[in-house]
């Protein structure tokens, strides 16, 4: 197409203008893409190069000393894992249930289904700091859980629900309508349809949703400052305060003079974690798809 434009010489002013516009637009689009690439590469390489030096086995397995300027991040990784575990353990069943209800059971025109969808749409847009406010008021104060792993996990669970529901719903949407009709025509109950027909097909979508949720949760900071707290030692119970990785980075870079080097390394660890989570997910999803049926 492009070649044709070049080989047929433009005629008159309109032609020249048109020619410049066409070639110019191509140039602008390439430039824009190059600009975005350069910009993001700058960010990523900055974190990788500056964080690489401090990354070691010891860094991952030692406790932080001197307010985090020295030592490692082991307790922080443990806290992060615990908060994530609570978050997913609570939100995944709820999210899965809601997704099944929305995609398979309520009619598309049902008032309740519409209401639930609406509320999730808004929930997805709620700023994370507002989740923090809510978690602080509800989980920490009203339920009396205080600044704890549990409060943080529950707050995050509320936060990842919309994204979880949306992507699991996509998974169920991947089930061909012919399969659902076929199951109905055989008089299969919803329960067996769900377990034998829908879930097996929807699993990649569910995994993708789960991982997206984990990825969102592991990246979160603002919702946790006032719920899971700052304490950088090993948490002793679910009700103990614990510092997650993202808060560690924030604290090191803002409140600790000379904490920059370890902040870089922690940021690199967090970056790798997010990348790894995404990669594993797509791998599991793909392998499941390729696996034959028995």
């Amino acid at each position: 197409m492009l070649k044709q434009d070049l080989s047929s010489p433009p005629k008159g002013f309109g032609g020249v203008f048109d020619f410049v516009l066409r070639q110019g637009s191509t140039g602008v689009i390439w430039l824009g893409a190059i600009f975005v690439t350069a910009w993001s590469m700058w960010l990523i390489s900055d974190i990788v190069f500056n964080g690489w030096a401090g990354l070691s086995y010891d860094f991952l397995t030692h406790t932080p000393t001197n307010a985090g300027r020295e030592g490692g991040i082991a307790p922080i990784l443990v806290s992060t894992g615990l908060v994530l575990a609570i978050c997913m353990a609570v939100s995944f069943p709820i999210g899965l249930g809601t997704a099944i209800l929305l995609s398979e059971i309520t009619a598309t025109d049902s008032w309740w289904g519409g209401m639930i969808r609406r509320s999730l749409d808004v929930l997805a847009g709620v700023p994370s700091i507002v989740f923090g406010l809510f978690g602080n008021a509800f989980f920490c104060n009203i339920l009396g859980l205080g600044f704890s792993i549990l409060s943080g996990g529950l707050t995050l669970a509320c936060m990842v629900l919309p994204i979880l529901i949306r992507s699991t719903e996509e998974g169920f949407r991947a089930v061909p309508i012919a399969q659902k009709l076929g199951a109905s025509a055989l008089g299969l109950s919803r329960l067996s349809t769900l377990f034998y027909i829908l879930l097996p097909i929807a699993v990649p979508g569910l995994i993708a949703g789960f991982v997206l949720g984990v990825g969102r949760a592991v990246a979160e900071t603002a919702a946790l400052i006032f719920t899971s707290g700052y304490v950088d030692r090993y948490p002793e119970s679910w009700l103990d305060s614990g510092r997650v990785l993202s808060i560690h980075i924030y604290d090191l870079s803002m409140n600790i003079a000379g904490g920059e080097a370890h902040a870089y390394t922690s940021a690199l660890v967090l970056l790798i974690l997010v990348l790894l989570i995404n990669q594993t997910a797509s791998h599991i999803g793909l392998r499941y798809l390729r696996r034959g049926v028995t």
Binding site: R22, G97, G125, A137, R166, S189, A222
Partner: protein, 292 residues
């Protein structure tokens, strides 16, 4: 026999049980928003009761310890940063999506797409950290103090760019294949196809992507907190420090008491109002369900 529904062993009993559980879960899911609103309002009421709404916009400044609660500078700060980030990210994001789908060779497109996806996964605290250690010193050299509206806009633009780009890309992907076949049949050039068919047809999707990105921008906390200087004033230039509604909460929540704490919940409420407006706008633009 077919009419008899009450048999305990009939499979529909299991189904009713299943449906019941699913309803419980989804009610719980939709209850969360209600709870959030309830607690925001509940914790805001004391100060609203005490001093009224108008004070939040008419007081001389934000000095909660002296019972001065003017939120205007923070509101202006939030809106300015959002606006700037959108002005930068919307065109770039849309161009990115167009590049990926219509201009880039296959290999580059795949690479570029995964780069955008990677960007969307990077935690906001990492963006903030990068801004703090790399961008702020650069701006400082040009015009001190460095922590500024400009830094916020630049970092936030990069953060919301993937939102615009990914939703725009999904919009392009959902266009009917017939459009492309039809265009090929008429041997339209790529430029004509793009400007005459694809962009007009994706208008509502692109609008939605920008609105959702705006929502993400207004709600962003950590990055802004780290790079904008957090001074509660209406900025007089791109290089002045600003404080946003979100940063205000994050900064003062730790020690706020009484009316002060209550005032922070009012800022939360204000954020929710803005988000409500944006989501309704997105609904109107997209005519359907939208999630961030």
């Amino acid at each position: 026999m077919i009419l008899s529904n009450g048999n305990i062993l009939s499979p529909s009993t299991h189904d009713r049980f299943l449906t019941g559980i699913l309803w419980c879960f989804s009610l719980l899911a939709s209850l969360i928003l209600g709870l959030i609103l309830f607690f925001l309002v509940y914790n805001s009421l004391p100060v609203l009761w005490d001093i009224g709404i108008s004070k939040f916009f008419l007081d001389s400044s934000w000095h909660p310890s002296e019972a001065l609660f003017n939120l205007t500078p923070m509101l202006v700060g939030s809106l300015l940063i959002m606006l700037g980030a959108i002005l930068l990210a919307a065109p770039l994001g849309i161009v990115s999506a167009i590049f990926c789908r219509f201009y880039a060779p296959k290999v580059i497109a795949v690479f570029y797409q995964s780069l955008i996806e990677l960007l969307s996964g990077i935690p906001s605290v990492v963006y903030g950290f990068w801004g703090l250690v790399t961008l702020v010193p650069l701006i400082q050299k040009v015009n001190p103090p460095g922590t500024s509206l400009l830094a916020g806009i630049i970092v936030l633009a990069l953060m919301i760019l993937p939102t615009v780009s990914l939703i725009a890309d999904a919009t392009f992907a959902n266009l009917p294949k017939e459009y492309f076949q039809g265009a090929a049949g008429l041997s339209l050039s790529r430029f004509t196809l793009l400007t005459q068919i694809i962009l007009p047809a994706s208008k509502s999707g692109l609008l939605t992507s920008v609105i959702l990105a705006a929502g993400r921008a207004i709600g962003e906390t950590m990055a802004i907190l780290m790079i904008c200087g957090n001074i509660a004033q209406i900025p007089d230039s791109l290089f002045s420090p600003v404080r946003t509604l979100t940063a205000n909460i994050a900064l003062e929540m730790a020690y706020a008491m009484g009316n002060h704490r209550s005032a922070l919940f009012v800022s939360g409420l204000l954020l929710m109002v803005i988000i409500f407006a944006l989501v309704s706008l997105a609904h109107r633009a997209g005519k359907g369900s939208v999630y961030a």
